[in-house]
């Protein structure tokens, strides 16, 4: 006998594995066992095959791979004895599933076993078929299973019934074959067969309308009678659970009656009485009884209308709601959610209890209850419900606040009877849980505030008060800052005080600025808040002249901010305050009223869209907004018609209006040249930003200069740089000597004659001491070669001696340098040195020229060395 497979019994192996103290030890034991089992498989060991497979199953349960044992299952199934077959089928169900190809090999064994004379073996085969049957097997073996539905032993009949369910689910076409045998099962007395028969009928109804019709016509009355018998049956110890005979059978019966009664008034009528009896007579002090009641309620809710029964059902749910058991309350909430579509009025009666469930300690109950409350809200009860929910918001768990806030906001928005109430409730939510409020919610609030012109004063004062207590709620701070920026004067002058309003102690201008200053200086404030605060400040600077200096100081504080957005904004606003007094007041006028319809439409269209603040360039507010004709620049701020951009979402809307453009600082500097937001356009108009193009140009050069291989960007860059460079060159040329003039212009007509192409000259290199200008020409008939005339000019006040110019090019270029015109370079305006270069580009048309240069000279008898790279050659050289 094989020394490995002789090994251990199953029990010993389990013991050995359990004795392992570490995972590594366990792996070692498993590895050893697996090796032994593999060896046994290779030897085709007969005696221990089923023991080995049992071991493999245990190993499989521990999570180790056991695919090598799959064929052993098939061999065991094919063997004759019951114990072998039993382990074989067990292994088949555990180690394989319907998707494995190997399974096809077992179909034949299954067929034989289904026809076996030993009913226990038939039982094994049915069990395996029920658990892992694939569509092909279902087709092949359906006749056998159908026949077994009439087998004499009930154990086989019930297994065959469940097998049929699996077959019908896999191949719905086979359903009609099973309708008649299934119907006979419904007359069974044996509970096991009856329950599986009912289950089979239920599933047949789901896959086949004919089956549903058939059972409805022929079996409804029979099933009602069966249920009646079960309900009224005397104590049966075998099936008794908590004083109820077979609650599972009750439940299955109620379930099939539900399917038969749904959409059929006659069938529903037939079952009314028994449903009423179940609903009233069932004991509800044990879980089993409640399970039946629960199923009964669902059936009553689903079948055709019977007012009396429904009241009964809702009352049962009401009782469930006040049950101490969490499970019962949970299912009651679940069911009420379904019931609300049937009878909302009846559910409303339990509102108070449901509201209590929102405050439960169990998260799953809270969640259900909150969803239910949300469905229960209507115009008439929105006020008390919201009040309760907001009160609860104060004490609820942190992790629940998010859900709760979202729901309250949604309720308030949907059902608010008037604006002042809406604003009040929203302010309460923001005060309590502002950190949990989503962006679109506070955006919507601002839109509403903006539209409620008679409430501006009221709102800004309420926000001011709220800010004093809850400055840590981010969204509250944002809304407060926005409102103070817009309506700060109303806060200070107490404009539009309503009767209901608490008198507020006088707020000075500097108090109002305090709020914004706190918001912007608070460490926790995020970029959006800070940016909004800056805008509020610039608006206040015009409204509160007395605080103008202070505001300017705060704004200037951010000129050094590391966040590009704030830095830029601070500089822009500062120049508005300093240099543009005359237009400032019109510039910072109140924002035009925001269009509610546009906003809500946009929100509806973009609800799933994520808040993308970084794309920056989304501006398309239709100009349906009333605008102040006296404020042309304000119009530019909401710049809309001429810059429609796709992909704008509701959340961008406000950013656009506010000009809060949260482009991250990492955006390439070159992009900032394009007018992309209101502020930039404004900036261009005011010509504050003239330094911008130059900066971005040079930084773009910086990005591109290292690395010689990036030819593509260089070409693109030329477009940007060469006009600039030539302009500079021209201006210098214009101001300097004759030679320059000649150098600059003389080759041009020549080139014109040669090949009709003129290349602008470039400033190839410039330092504090030296400028090198390149002029280009092409020899006729040779496109690859470029003649370069380099002109060196000394910018310092002392002459250069021992002047040497060197150049290097990448491999695809060939360079020939002629000697320089001389090796001394006189100071400033006293002349220049020229040198000719000839470059041959072997990849002409594909790659642009690039060159690295080094210039050595002596200045005041000191060796100087300058190096650089030239990337700004014209294209097509």
């Amino acid at each position: 006998m094989n020394p490995f497979s002789s090994g251990t019994r199953l029990r010993d192996m389990i013991r050995a594995i359990r004795a392992c103290k570490t995972a590594a030890e366990e792996r070692a034991v498993v590895r050893k066992e697996c090796a032994a089992i593999r060896a046994a498989i290779n030897e085709n060991d007969q005696d221990y095959r089923h023991r080995n497979l049992a071991k493999l199953m245990f190993i499989h349960m521990l999570g180790y791979p056991t695919h090598f044992g799959q064929m052993e299952c098939l061999k065991l199934i094919a063997s004759a004895g019951f114990p072998e077959k039993r382990i074989g089928y067990l292994g088949l169900m555990l180690l394989l599933d319907e998707r494995q190809e190997v399974l096809m090999l077992v179909t034949n064994s299954l067929k034989q076993d289904l026809n076996h004379s030993n009913q226990y073996i038939v039982g094994l085969a049915l069990c395996a078929l029920g658990n892992i049957c694939s569509a092909e097997m279902a087709r092949d073996l359906a006749p056998e299973v159908e026949r077994l539905l009439q087998f004499r032993d009930p154990n086989i009949r019930k297994k065959a019934a469940l097998c049929s369910i699996r077959i019908v689910k896999k191949v719905p076409d086979l359903a009609e074959n099973f309708i008649n045998p299934a119907a006979t099962l419904l007359r069974e007395k044996h509970h096991g067969v009856l329950i599986t028969g009912i289950q089979l009928c239920t599933d047949l109804c789901k896959v086949s309308p004919e089956a549903l019709e058939y059972f409805r016509k022929k079996c409804t009355e029979g099933l009602v009678r069966t249920l009646k018998d079960v309900v009224n049956s005397p104590y049966a110890p075998e099936y008794d659970i908590a004083g109820i005979t077979d609650p599972f059978l009750h439940i299955r019966l109620l379930k099939i009656l539900r399917i038969l009664g749904q959409g059929d008034a006659d069938a529903s009528d037939t079952m009314n009485d028994i449903l009423a009896q179940v609903a009233t007579k069932t004991e509800s002090n044990k879980n089993a009884g409640n399970a039946i009641l629960y199923e009964c309620v669902e059936t009553i809710m689903s079948i055709e209308d019977n007012g009396g029964l429904r009241v009964l059902a809702i009352n049962i749910l009401g009782r469930f709601l006040s049950n101490r058991d969490n499970n019962i309350r949970y299912v009651a909430l679940n069911m009420l959610m379904k019931a609300i579509t049937v009878d909302a009025q009846a559910v409303q009666r339990h509102r108070a209890t449901i509201l209590e469930c929102v405050k439960d300690s169990d998260a799953s109950i809270r969640k259900r209850a909150l969803e239910l409350v949300y469905l229960l809200v209507n115009e008439s009860n929105v006020r008390p419900l919201t009040k309760d929910l907001i009160e609860y918001l104060e004490v609820s768990d942190q992790e629940f606040k998010g859900d709760l806030t979202a729901k309250i906001c949604s309720i308030v928005e949907k059902f608010s009877p008037e604006k002042i109430w809406y604003i009040d409730q929203m302010l309460k939510v923001l005060t309590e849980a502002g950190n949990f409020v989503k962006d679109e919610v506070w955006h919507a609030l601002i839109v509403v505030i903006s539209n409620a012109s008679d409430l501006h004063g009221y709102t800004v004062r309420a926000l001011y008060r709220a800010f004093q207590t809850s400055a840590e709620q981010e969204t509250l701070v944002r809304v407060a800052v926005w409102c103070i920026g817009e309506y700060g004067d109303m806060l200070v002058n107490n404009v539009g005080v309503l009767d209901i309003e608490d008198p507020i102690k006088t707020v000075t201008e500097s108090n109002a600025v305090d709020v914004v200053e706190i918001a912007i200086k608070r460490h926790a404030s995020d970029l959006t808040t800070k940016a909004m605060a800056l805008i509020a400040l610039v608006k206040l600077s015009s409204r509160f002249p007395s605080c103008s200096e202070r505001i300017k100081d705060i704004i200037m504080h951010y000129k050094g901010s590391l966040v590009l957005e704030l830095q830029q904004r601070s500089l822009e606003f500062n120049s508005i305050i300093e240099k543009h007094q005359n237009i400032r007041s019109t510039l910072v006028e109140r924002m035009p009223v925001l269009d509610e319809a546009t906003f809500s439409g946009r929100r509806a269209g973009s609800l799933p869209a994520t808040v993308s603040t970084s794309n920056g360039a989304s501006l398309n507010l239709p100009n349906g907004v009333a605008k102040h004709s006296a404020a042309p620049l304000v119009d530019l701020l909401d710049l809309s018609d001429d810059a429609p951009a796709p992909g704008s979402s509701g959340s961008d809307f406000l950013h656009d209006l506010l000009g809060v453009d949260l482009a991250p600082a990492s955006t390439q500097p070159g992009i900032s040249q394009a007018p992309k937001s209101g502020t930039d356009v404004l900036l261009d108009l005011l010509s504050i930003g003239t330094t911008n193009p130059v900066q971005s140009n040079s930084s773009a050069l910086d990005i591109l200069s290292p690395g010689q291989d990036n030819q593509k960007p260089i070409a693109a860059l030329d477009v940007l740089s060469s006009p600039l460079a030539s302009a500079q060159a021209n201006s210098s040329v214009g101001a300097s000597s004759m030679i320059d003039l000649l150098d600059g212009f003389a080759p041009s007509p020549l080139k014109h004659e040669d090949n009709g192409q003129v290349y602008p000259s470039i400033v190839a290199f410039e330092s504090s001491n030296l400028r090198i200008t390149f002029n280009f020409s092409k020899p006729p008939g040779n496109a690859q070669t470029t003649l370069i005339q380099a002109t060196f000019k000394n910018l310092s006040s002392n002459a250069f001696t021992d002047f040497v110019f060197q150049a290097a090019v990448p491999k695809f270029l060939q360079l020939h340098l002629d000697p320089a015109s001389r090796n001394t370079l006189p100071a400033s305006d006293n002349g220049s040195v020229t040198q000719s270069l000839r470059v041959t580009n072997s990849q002409h048309g594909k790659k642009a020229l690039v060159m690295r240069i080094r210039i050595a000279y002596k200045l005041n008898n000191k060796d100087m060395l300058e190096e650089g790279q030239i990337n700004n050659f014209p294209q097509d050289l």
Binding site: Y120, H191, E298
Partner: protein, 202 residues
């Protein structure tokens, strides 16, 4: 091993149950590291959900049954839907995480992906059934208890070790109780008798 038996208790008082005999074993188990693979959120959701969605949601059945101890060792895992081994391990790991730290005062139902897990704790063992979201939770709770009673009856005073050493018998009992994800027999007596007949054939 029958000297240190612990009885599974009736569900209505199992929280106060004396765990002494199981405690000794549990401490030993503790020294072994439970290998729980960690998965990223995205990997967790992908294939499994796809697989489940291919099932018609109106077809109600038990998707799988798990029996795990507090350390997360699987003592029985029966799947009525086809899943890859790796998916099964994920499911077992996740279900264990869901149920093991839940407050006993909370409901016995937890939402799990697109389904619902009905679980019940007996001493150190968690019995979990994964069912459709709209199915009757209370009935499955009763179902778990009936299964435990059958085990208890069969092993006369069942404890975790019985289930470990006789795992194949547990599977056989389960096959007599539930088949193809549906309840097959509701009589404890019938199942015990049937098991007796099958044992005789061994």
């Amino acid at each position: 091993m029958h000297d240190s038996h612990a009885r599974f208790h009736s569900p209505f008082s199992f929280r106060n149950f004396n765990l002494t005999s199981l405690l000794g074993r549990r401490n030993r188990e503790k020294r072994k590291k439970v290998q729980c693979p960690r998965f990223t959120e995205s990997a967790r959701n992908s294939q499994f959900l796809f697989y489940y969605r291919s099932f018609d949601l109106s077809i109600r059945m038990i998707r799988f049954i798990l029996l795990q101890n507090r350390q997360g060792k699987t003592r029985l895992a029966k799947y009525y839907v086809p899943l890859e081994d790796s998916e099964k391990h994920k499911v077992e790991y996740e279900v264990h995480r869901l149920v093991v730290n839940r407050d006993p005062k909370f409901t016995n139902f937890v939402e799990f992906r697109t389904h619902k897990v009905i679980y019940r704790r007996y001493a150190g063992l968690f019995f979990s059934l994964c069912v459709d979201i709209t199915d009757n939770e209370l009935a499955y709770l009763e179902c778990i208890h009936l299964f435990v009673e059958i085990l208890d009856h069969f092993f006369s005073n069942v404890c975790e070790l019985d289930l470990v050493f006789n795992f194949h018998k547990v599977y056989l009992i389960l096959d007599e109780f539930i088949l193809a994800g549906e309840l097959q027999e509701t009589s404890k007596k019938a199942i015990i008798e049937r098991m007796g007949e099958l044992e005789k054939l061994e």
